[in-house]
């Protein structure tokens, strides 16, 4: 450290903790210099695209794709703003149905992830400090493979000639049941969804469980609580914030997923993500695609909000 090294002018304020209002002009400049570039960048490439998407949902589709021109020289041409796509969305139940179906898939995935992640997170949290880091690393490592590769792995495993399918169908055959196809089925979609998102559940759960005070459990034991009661009355309620964080991290990406149903799904596996993708990269209906995207945003926010409220109430109940 170079103490007493020149008394330069006040050019920056990286290490000051004064209130903004009391910042000298030069420091205020620094504040803008530091926060300005990332802010402007995200305003331009995150907020503006979001706004464009909202606007696009009120436009007409172009004859060949894209959006119809806002103002056209031909008075008969479709132009200006419209609620058409929203009317189309609500005109019948099918699109709501797709949202409900995606919600069910996302919820199921979240629950399965929770059931699988909880024992693992608990074990890691109660292991000696030395081995914890390694155990956590082992959960993260599958992340080292590309998302598509993890999906592709299941394509091999569930293939009709793979050992798993042969064994499973052999078992079914013993009971006289028709063989089933594992690949290209809702089952395949669900397995891959769980597989891809499982670490998102383990990590927040572990972070939460690790912080629990072990003396609480001792106290419960002294009061005569058995192992199950100790878990259900002490550990589980305390871990609710971790469960909530993990569930959000799993639920949100699953709601928007399109690649997994695309690769592993069968004849009926269409989710919201697939529908949105199709509007942009198939049907060339950008306004409707934008409407669906906005609906997805709202649906996700709504779900997270409800979950947060439920979680909040449970904690104090």
């Amino acid at each position: 450290m170079r103490c007493g090294w020149g008394g330069g002018t006040m050019r920056g304020c990286f290490c000051m903790s004064e209130e903004h209002a009391r910042l000298p002009p030069a420091a205020r400049l620094t504040k803008w210099l530091v926060s300005g570039p990332p802010f402007v960048y995200l305003l331009l490439f995150f907020a503006a695209p979001g706004l464009i998407m909202v606007l696009a949902s009120f436009r007409f589709p172009g004859e060949f794709g894209g959006l119809a021109p806002f103002t056209a020289t031909d008075p008969d041409a479709l132009q200006g703003l419209t609620l058409e796509t929203y009317r189309f969305f609500f005109s019948d139940f099918i699109y709501t149905e797709i949202f409900i179906k995606s919600f069910i898939v996302a919820l199921t995935t979240t629950l399965i992830c929770l059931v699988m992640a909880y024992p693992l997170a608990l074990l890691i949290a109660r292991s000696p400090k030395k081995s914890r880091d390694l155990m956590v690393l082992l959960v993260i490592l599958p992340f080292a493979s590309n998302f598509l590769i993890r999906v592709y792995a299941w394509m091999i495993i569930l293939g009709p000639q793979a050992a798993l399918s042969l064994a499973f169908n052999g078992l079914l055959g013993m009971f006289g049941v028709e063989p089933v196809r594992l690949l290209f089925s809702p089952f395949a979609v669900l397995v891959a969804m769980v597989y891809v998102h499982l670490p998102f559940m383990v990590l927040p759960l572990y972070t939460n469980l690790e912080r629990h005070d072990p003396t609480l459990l001792d106290a419960a034991q002294d009061l005569g609580a058995n192992a199950w009661q100790r878990f259900w009355r002490v550990t589980f309620p305390l871990s609710l914030p971790g469960i909530f964080a993990g569930s959000v991290l799993v639920f949100i990406p699953v709601m928007g997923m399109f690649a997994i149903p695309d690769i592993l799904g069968g004849t009926g596996d269409m989710l919201v993500g697939n529908l949105i993708k199709e509007q942009f990269l198939g049907t060339r209906d950008w306004p409707f695609g934008s409407t669906l995207s906005i609906m997805l945003t709202l649906a996700v926010l709504l779900c997270v909000w409800i979950a947060a409220r439920l979680g909040g109430r449970r904690r104090y109940a």
Partner: protein
Amino acid sequence: MWRGLLFLLCFGNAQADDVLHLYNWNNYISEETVQRFEKQCACRVVQDYYSDNEEMLAKLAAGATGYDILVPTGNALESLIRQKALRPLDKRMLPNLKNTNPAYLNTPFDPGNRYSVPYAYTLTLIGYNSEKLRELNLPVDSWAVIFEPRYLGKLKGRVTVLDSQRELLAAALKYLGYSANDTDETHWKQARDLIIRAKPYWAAFNASSYIKELTVGNIWLVHGYSNDIFQADLDAQNAGRGFRIVASIPKEGAVLALDSMVLHNSGPRPDLAHRFIDFMLDGRNSAELTNLIGSGNPNRDALQYIKPEVARNPAVFPGAAQQERLEMLRDLDRHQRRVLSRIWTEIKLR
């Protein structure tokens, strides 16, 4: 690997001068043909693939540029011409154009062939595993085998259909006795109901990997493109499987897709593109395409070079009676596209 990557990063642009960008259907040109063209023109061919016209149109609508050559089917060609996305051909640079069979010129999609020359054609038809279908004793001359539960009962989980809104709808419409270009919504709804009724018996909607599934023997019956079925048959023979993959044109009729070579506006090298088109119009090269990938051939000069067993294949060269029943798809407008997408959603969801 790193040296190779560095090389590409540093010198990738240096040779960009002589590169032809081709945006083609997957499985629609053989590696040998491409290599011979590269040698002849001393250039490099970079290919991108699509498996559905709609996909290609959507990607272009989303601003994809830099393609010298596209290979759209008639209806997509029509749409591309109307949106002024194509560059007119310079026929002085295409001396081999004289080889093309006039029956495939001057289509309603591009009168006078200002923008397009025929490349090849395919049919969308039924492909099946010869052994399995013979054992099961099912009719293979009708779309009924794809759509009727009484036949599908024996084929549960062994059937795939194309993951293409237009193609699947066309097959269903044909089976119902309508035109493949029917745009009457009540007819579309009948087709939808037919598809939804048959769907539980199908394994998947699939646009490309059914070739491999047929070869392996997982899938016994497909609704697919004639050249893909040809490919699956070749693969099955090479792998020494005990069966053939056979194509059949349903008696109700089927879709004929005449694919043409066109120049995209954004292509930087129209000169190379013209050379490529003329190269493909040469009888030998055109014949090689047919011999290797099993596409139909609109080139008169090519016929003499085509292998007899391919020339006899009715899925490659349909007879006059069968040709009567073939239909080319027309383009849909934005309203029809949205309605079709809604029907498709319903099909996928139910």
